[in-house]
């Protein structure tokens, strides 16, 4: 099913492909043998698209994200960012093409929201990290796009989790990259904030023509608000529009448990 992802997903020709993977095998290299977590992965992510990555816990979402962001080398195949092998980028080049939002909590510091967002300009600033007028422009633009103007002067530990997620997204925006990858940005948030956050990502993808990839466990939100979804199961990794994937029962195999079933009319899981 994953072999010819492009024909299935109906990718239009006008939009630029930002990130793609051909015949990718991911996993870990041990001394003698390779531990393969998933193989024959074919993916193509376009600009202006919001893409959700879903899969059960422990299925290898993090490994896939690590491979797609160039932290980990693939066992086979390659990941192409802007039609160039991601592992051939220098670290400063990569920083200008890929920004990340991580789940880990920030170390203690006195950073204000503004200073935190401004750190996103590091790949462009001089050796002292001084912000030029253009850098300040990007920072202010990122702050207004994410609507955090009101808290810009606050310390990063004084704001709520939902606000902090927005601030971290603003930092990634300020980094001015065609691709942003977020690792489970909606954890620790309530439903209202989850919806707001994914809506914000959707808006950013279409307004800034960026490709935004995020991993999540909230399938219902992903179905309603993403342009594309990548479903990771123990058998394969499939990419497609929400409608296409529902038609092809891609979500039925998401959990290895007969009591949890996907109901395509409701667009969510039913527990028996």
């Amino acid at each position: 099913m994953a072999a010819d992802a492009k024909t299935q997903t109906g990718i239009s020709m006008e939009k630029k492909i930002v990130l793609s993977a051909q015949d990718l095998s991911i996993g870990y290299q041990h001394k003698k043998q390779n531990e393969t977590i998933a193989q024959a992965i074919n993916l193509a992510f376009e600009e202006s698209n919001l893409i959700a990555l879903i899969g059960a816990n422990g299925i290898g979402k993090s490994t896939l994200l690590r491979t797609l962001t160039g932290i980990q080398k693939p066992l086979l195949g390659e990941v192409q960012l802007n039609h160039k092998n991601i592992n051939s980028y220098s670290s400063s080049e990569l920083a200008q093409n890929l920004a990340v939002v991580l789940t880990e909590s920030l170390p203690p510091s006195n950073l204000t929201v503004f200073e935190l967002v401004a750190l996103g300009r590091q790949p462009y600033t001089n050796w002292l990290g001084k912000l030029s007028p253009e850098d300040l422009d990007s920072v202010n633009k990122a702050i207004s796009l994410t609507q955090i103007d009101g808290i810009a002067h606050k310390k990063h530990f004084e704001i709520s989790d939902g606000q902090l997620q927005k601030v971290l997204i603003a930092r990634a925006l300020a980094q001015d990259t065609p691709l942003i990858v977020l690792d489970e940005p909606t954890t620790h948030l309530d439903l209202q904030h989850k919806v707001n956050l994914i809506r914000l990502l959707k808006k950013l993808a279409s307004e800034t023509a960026k490709c935004i990839l995020y991993s999540t466990h909230d399938l219902d939100l992903a179905l309603q608000l993403s342009d594309q979804i990548v479903v990771m199961t123990s058998n394969d990794v499939v990419q497609g529009t929400p409608e296409y994937l529902m038609e092809h029962h891609a979500f039925d195999k998401l959990f290895n448990d007969k009591s949890i079933r996907f109901n395509s009319h409701k667009g969510g899981f039913v527990i028996r």
Binding site: S91, V100, P108, S109, N110, L111, A118, G129
Partner: protein, 342 residues
């Protein structure tokens, strides 16, 4: 919101305070020397009494310069470690760097007898002691680094530092058991800590190494800012983490090792001064904190040194006692307001 202009008046005030503290340090001591004569002897003019000029140029000026350099170096070393280990309570003495330096020096002073003549001659020279003590603090930092990568818990690192201190203390204890009373006396005097009695040639070595350490720290200012978000974010913003970490560790051990080699262990300065700078400037920008830490570190150690030689008093108190009396309550206060990360 984020203006560096606000800080300029503070920098000017600190600059003036530094000059004042330096001159005050020179004019106070067991012999009272009028301020105007201090300025005269410094500017190459003649003081009213030639003994005063001698005291200033050969006793007080070297001591003030040592205080200046040690204050700057230890404080910057503390700032580097607080950011690298994501731990507001990190510092050269807390993490056991000073103990590592002590161990290096103890090996050299107490163990020199076991080495052949030429080697022991080299190791007992100031260069040898600097080398041994820098190597000692470098080893401790490397060990802490290895442990800190296994343990994500930042508080555990402090306990490890404490363990290193006891460990090196014990080894020094064992070494003293096998050394002559003459060696022991030399080591005991060193370990009490003193900013004075350094000949000019030692001060030049101290100054050169300190400036090298401060320059190495300066090239880390931007990566240090990135490290405020943690290692993974820093890497994602194009920072070469391994290289940065190596430079930070090299700079911190050069500064702590060399200063400890010449002055003996000085507690709390490296831990407390970066916090004072953070409180004064209310920022996390390492460019501002770096300059702020250098200035306030120098001022604070000069003032502490002035306290050790109260005017009219015959006695000179150990510098370590003064920094601990002032530093320990500040650390306790910092811990009490821990809910506000600093």
């Amino acid at each position: 919101m984020y203006s560096q202009k606000r800080n300029i008046p503070i920098f000017i005030i600190l600059g003036i305070a530094l000059v004042m503290a330096f001159l005050l340090n020179l004019s106070l001591g067991s012999v009272k020397i009028p301020f105007i004569d201090v300025v005269h002897s410094l500017t190459g003019g003649e003081a009213s009494k030639s003994t005063w000029e001698y005291i200033i140029l050969h006793y007080r000026l070297p001591k003030a310069l040592t205080a200046l350099l040690a204050g700057m170096g230890l404080s910057v070393s503390g700032l580097l470690m607080q950011t690298l280990f994501r731990n507001p309570l990190a510092g050269p003495d807390v993490l056991g760097l000073s103990s590592g330096a002590s161990l290096g020096v103890a090996f050299v002073i107490l163990g020199a007898g076991f080495l052949p003549g030429i080697l022991s001659g080299f190791f007992l020279s100031p260069y040898g002691i600097v080398l041994a003590s820098t190597a000692g603090s470098f080893m401790v930092l490397l060990a802490i680094l290895v442990v800190s990568q296994r343990l994500r818990d930042t508080m555990a690192i402090l306990i490890i530092g404490l363990m290193f201190s006891s460990f090196t203390g014990a080894i020094v204890g064992v070494l003293t058991f096998f050394s002559t009373s003459e060696q022991l006396q030399k080591f005991t005097f060193w370990s009490l800590g003193s900013l004075g009695n350094l000949p000019w040639e030692h001060i030049i070595i101290l100054a050169v190494v300190c400036i090298a350490g401060l320059l190495l720290s300066a090239i880390c200012i931007k990566p240090l800012d990135a490290l405020l978000l943690g290692e993974r974010y820093a890497k994602s913003m194009g920072i070469n983490f391994k290289k940065t970490r190596f430079i930070i560790i090299l700079a911190a051990s050069l500064l702590t090792g060399t200063i400890t080699a010449f002055t003996g262990p000085i507690a709390f300065v490296g831990l407390v001064v970066p916090h004072i700078a953070k409180l004064v400037f209310k920022t996390s920008s390492h460019l501002i904190l770096y300059v702020g830490t250098i200035l306030s570190g120098a001022i604070i150690l000069l003032v502490c040194d002035t306290f050790t030689q109260m005017p009219g008093s015959e006695y000179v108190l150990p510098i370590n006692a003064i920094t601990s009396i002032i530093g320990a309550p500040i650390v306790i206060w910092l811990l009490m307001r821990k809910h506000k990360p600093v």
